[in-house]
Symmetry: C2
Subunit: 111 residues, 2 copies
Amino acid sequence: MLPVHETGTCSVATAAEIVGSKWTVLLVHDLSEGPRRFTELERSCEGISPRTLAERLRWLEAEEMVVRRSYPESPPRVEYELTPKGTALLPIVHEMRRFGHEWLGCGVHDA
Amino acid sequence: MLPVHETGTCSVATAAEIVGSKWTVLLVHDLSEGPRRFTELERSCEGISPRTLAERLRWLEAEEMVVRRSYPESPPRVEYELTPKGTALLPIVHEMRRFGHEWLGCGVHDA
DNA sequence: CAGTATCCTCAAAGATACTG
DNA sequence: CAGTATCTTTGAGGATACTG
């Protein structure tokens, strides 16, 4: 996924890129409940590969939707947290969930 | 894109599929302003190939988000229109646009 | 723990030409 | 006009092994 400022597209199209790329919405939803560590996200996103998770997180960080906080302890600890910009994605996520519940008759078991 | 009932995923993930596949959001937005013909959509979605447009429309029709109305005139006329289910996508689209405007500083020129 | 490094697959979508 | 038929490309993302 290209950085947003290089896509040339804007607005809806960009939001579609964010929201449509696999795992991103799940990640944002997870992070909306507080800071999370790499392995926590790996576990809650059943099936995601570390490669993809790392890429997704780096992308979100580059877009300033997520901050990465590294605590140089041993064992190392890193936490990811939504920024205000990342939090601003939540209304989209909520509308997506509403749609799912109302029209797809599913999603009841989502977190 | 698979039919939704075959994906196994639900809710947010499904909405992400809908909303994330290229052109779909633009199409839904266009159709929100009234029935549109194939070529009209082709023109307003600058760059879309007829192959992709047809596929997208067939998919939306299969999901009952769009109805296809064919008038057997000469020359042939076909119109596509949002169903209530398709219309229910609009709140998502609106939140996506809001996000674009507020955080990406763009999208002002969108219809 | 928190990632990289590689390799690989597969499907979305572009380009183009053609048709009822 | 409203598509279909082919062929091709590209890149997202999976699997797996390895590392500071």
